[in-house]
């Protein structure tokens, strides 16, 4: 606890001295991320301290996921972005397509407790071209002020008789198929084995069929809290951080159900041919350090990708009574039935399952 205070004091000191460096900054990078509360957490925990420490500035841009823009920039030979926050599947695919620079994990700084980076990061934090910064998850949530006796399990989400009302789902097979199988009784450890078979896919779609008519499809992360707030749906899948922020920041009475949450990581990747690749690499190393990842956790409920960050995770930045630890997808209580996203599976099968999903949607 004492350590934490010191760390925070150090951060605020660094923040306070930003202006002193402003005149002497040497460069600027363009960091692209998902916008909203998530980008805010990155600005507070990464950008500002980095600017304070190095004098370099960060131009923050928003995008809505996918790597089409990156592909367009690289193929046109006109790269304007430097570093981008991507989902793991996109990190892998972008690497395959030659859109991202390779990153050697051993070049990353060791954790604050001295553990080497490759051991400090949780498993699955590295691909050839990207380094994880946070762990997020797809959960489902409801408004407890409307639904008093709320759902408890993923099976309840698919039970429209006991829990009537519309459902919000992301317009993508990812997470939906996993949750459907979990609701159908597949143990979280067996999900991808089942999904690898044709019968398993059929089974997942059959489960989705049971609620298909009740579904409102969302695409952007900001939509599900809005759908809940508008009363457009009774419950919806969502990114846990978005729901947390609606609760902590806007006082909504949303409840998260952690059963069968699908864990995933977000990663930093540096675009091949980035105008400020070296600075971007420096920024990547800085922002994925123990302290920065821990600091980010006080702005949004996404778990730090480094184990060494866990002890520094404290309370919500604007509410000292709100402990962030239990809000994390990685909190022990939330992990019991969690499904870690199998990126290898999705890299292999995304095309086919997307195709099937799209066809299923319109039929």
């Amino acid at each position: 606890m004492k350590k934490t205070t010191l760390l925070l004091a150090g951060t605020s000191l660094a923040l306070g001295t930003t202006s002193a460096f402003a005149g002497s900054h040497t460069g600027s990078i363009t960091a692209v991320s998902w916008g909203g509360a998530y980008t805010v957490s990155q600005i507070e925990a990464y950008h500002k301290p980095w600017t304070a420490a190095t004098g370099n500035t960060v131009v923050s841009e928003d995008y809505s996921g996918g790597i089409a823009e990156v592909k367009a920039q690289v193929e046109a030979g006109n790269v304007t972005w430097d570093i981008i926050d991507v989902e793991k599947s996109d990190a892998v695919r972008g690497c395959d397509e030659g859109l991202f620079m390779e990153i050697d994990p051993t070049s990353l700084p060791a954790g604050s407790d001295g553990t080497a980076a490759v051991d400090d990061f949780i498993p699955g934090s590295f691909t050839d071209c990207a380094v994880a910064n946070i762990v997020w998850s797809t959960i489902f949530a409801y408004d407890s002020s409307v639904t008093t006796n709320g759902p408890k399990t993923i099976a309840d989400f698919f039970n429209v008789d006991a829990f009537p009302g519309k459902r919000g789902l992301r317009k993508s097979p990812k997470a939906n198929l996993e949750m459907a199988l979990a609701a159908d009784g597949v143990a979280s450890g067996d999900i991808y084995d089942v999904l690898a078979t044709d019968e398993g896919v059929d089974r997942a779609f059959a489960k989705l069929d049971t609620i298909k008519d009740m579904v409102v499809w969302w695409e952007a992360g900001a939509q599900p809290p809005q759908l809940l707030a508008d009363g457009e749906v009774a419950m919806t899948t969502a990114y846990n951080g978005r729901i947390f922020n609606a609760v902590a920041g806007e006082g909504k009475s949303f409840e998260i159900v952690w059963d069968a949450q699908v864990l995933d990581v977000d990663m930093w990747a540096i675009i091949k041919g980035a105008p400020n690749a070296e600075l971007a690499m420096d920024f990547l190393k800085f922002s994925t350090a123990t302290e920065q990842l821990a600091a980010q956790a006080s702005y949004i409920a996404y778990g730090p990708a480094r184990k060494s960050s866990a002890p520094y995770v404290t309370t919500y930045h604007s509410n000292a009574d709100l402990e962030m630890g239990p809000q994390m997808p990685t909190a022990a209580a939330n992990l019991a039935t969690a499904i870690p996203n199998d990126f290898e599976f999705w890299a292999d099968n995304a095309d086919e399952l997307n195709e099937r999903f799209n066809a299923w949607l319109i039929n």
């Binding site: 089409a68 030659g98 086919e352 066809a359």
Partner: protein
């Protein structure tokens, strides 16, 4: 003067036709010169990029370029016999290079498109390719039994074609096999034909709704004095001054279950509070929002045509004993047809390519072809398929133009 063949001659004896061509030549050169800058501009920034992109619908050299030996070894293989050791050797050699050059991801992605699940097969095998020893076929199968599956090789064979109809075929819900034959996709994966049909249906309905709503307004505007009609015109154009995204989002606020429209329905007892209408995130929402957004494109050509119809026609008809309706239907309406044609064609073609609105308010059954193109552009990165879908749509729109020209006549269209 005439020559022996009977064609007219000019005074100096040259055929009149040639004389005319000579005298016209200068003015033609001048006309061409005047059009040249715009022509060049359009070709450079419009025609060329589009053609270049559309080329991707039939051209994909990724596999052939990155796996040259394999492609060559497979060139003569007809897919009916078992893969040869020669092919396996070429494959391993290519994999070693691809691993070294870090192009294996591209190769794997390309083959994965033909046969799902082969991506990891390629990346895994490539990692070990360097250590493999002949006989290569056995070595490959030892690494992963999927190499014994002829389907894997079929997929590579299909991927190795540089010019391939595979994407266009896929855009029509068909699948090309290694031997070049084309079969229909399995039922649960057919999507595009149905989507094209739905796109047509939505565009058609939107056009009809725009016509039904726009015709009376245009008629009113054309018959009002200039001051009043100008005011109405401004009201019609008002939505153009707001961004498309804002207008679409406003429809969400209007139409959602807890939105303005449903609140009104509840107030007037047309719906109960528990059982509100689903006006959005479905086809209804798409139709309502698109009709609203495209309405001005119907009203403007209608108005500009109706403005030129003198009131004396209807008066003449009435003086001859026609009732108001007969005068309208037999005399006024036929003369407004060029405006209907122009407006309908404009709205229909704009509607076919609509994308933001169905994406936001369309839900699952209000999606259109443009949304799947967007999906392949941004999410799946299958730009070849996106180009193929675009090409199919382009051909279809051209066909519609042709039909329109045949039925109504393109010169019969008036935009103002």
């Amino acid at each position: 003067m005439m020559d022996s063949s009977g064609s007219l001659l000019a005074v100096d004896g040259t055929p009149l036709r040639r004389k005319l061509a000579q005298s016209m030549f200068r003015s033609r050169v001048r006309a061409f010169g005047l059009a040249l800058p715009l022509l060049a501009f359009i070709i450079v920034v419009f025609v060329y990029p589009i053609l270049d992109f559309l080329r991707q619908s039939v051209y994909d050299a990724r596999f052939a370029t990155l796996m040259p030996a394999t492609s060559e070894a497979m060139a003569d293989w007809d897919g009916s016999t078992a893969p040869t050791e020669e092919m396996a050797a070429a494959l391993v050699a290519d994999l070693v290079i691809a691993k070294k050059e870090k192009t294996i991801g591209k190769v794997a992605t390309r083959v994965n498109r033909e046969l799902s699940g082969t991506r990891s097969l390629f990346t895994k095998t490539a990692r070990n390719a360097k250590k493999m020893k002949p006989p290569y076929m056995e070595a490959l199968i030892k690494k992963d039994k999927d190499w014994a599956d002829i389907e894997t090789w079929h997929a590579m064979k299909t991927a190795s074609r540089v010019y391939t109809p595979a994407y266009i075929v896929a855009a029509l819900d068909r699948k090309m096999l290694a031997d070049g034959s084309i079969i229909q996709q399995s039922e649960e994966r057919r999507i595009h034909v149905q989507l094209f049909a739905r796109t047509m249906e939505i565009s058609f309905l939107v056009t009809i709704f725009c016509l039904i709503l726009g015709y009376p307004i245009a008629f009113l505007m054309a018959s009002l004095p200039l001051r009043t009609s100008n005011l109405l015109l401004i009201l019609v154009l008002l939505p153009f001054w707001t961004s498309l995204l804002v207008r679409t989002t406003a429809w969400i606020a209007m139409l959602q279950a807890q939105g303005v429209m449903n609140d009104l329905f509840v107030v007037f007892g047309l719906a109960t509070d528990e059982d509100r209408f689903s006006l959005i995130y479905n086809k209804t929402g798409t139709l309502i929002a698109m009709t609203h957004i495209l309405l001005p494109f119907m009203i403007l050509p209608l108005f500009s045509v109706m403005k030129t119809i003198p009131p004396s026609y209807v008066r003449a008809a009435k003086s001859m004993g026609a009732t108001d309706w007969t005068a309208f239907w037999r005399v006024y309406f036929p003369q407004s047809v060029p405006g209907i044609g122009a407006g309908a064609l404009l709205v229909f073609i704009l509607a076919i390519g609509y994308y933001i609105t169905p994406a936001l308010v369309g839900g699952q059954d209000g999606q259109m072809v443009s949304n799947i193109i967007d999906f392949h552009m941004r999410k799946s990165l299958n730009w070849n398929l996106a180009a193929a879908l675009g090409l199919v749509m382009l051909v279809f729109v051209m066909f519609l133009f042709w039909v329109y020209d045949r039925v109504v006549g393109i010169d019969n269209m008036k935009l103002g």
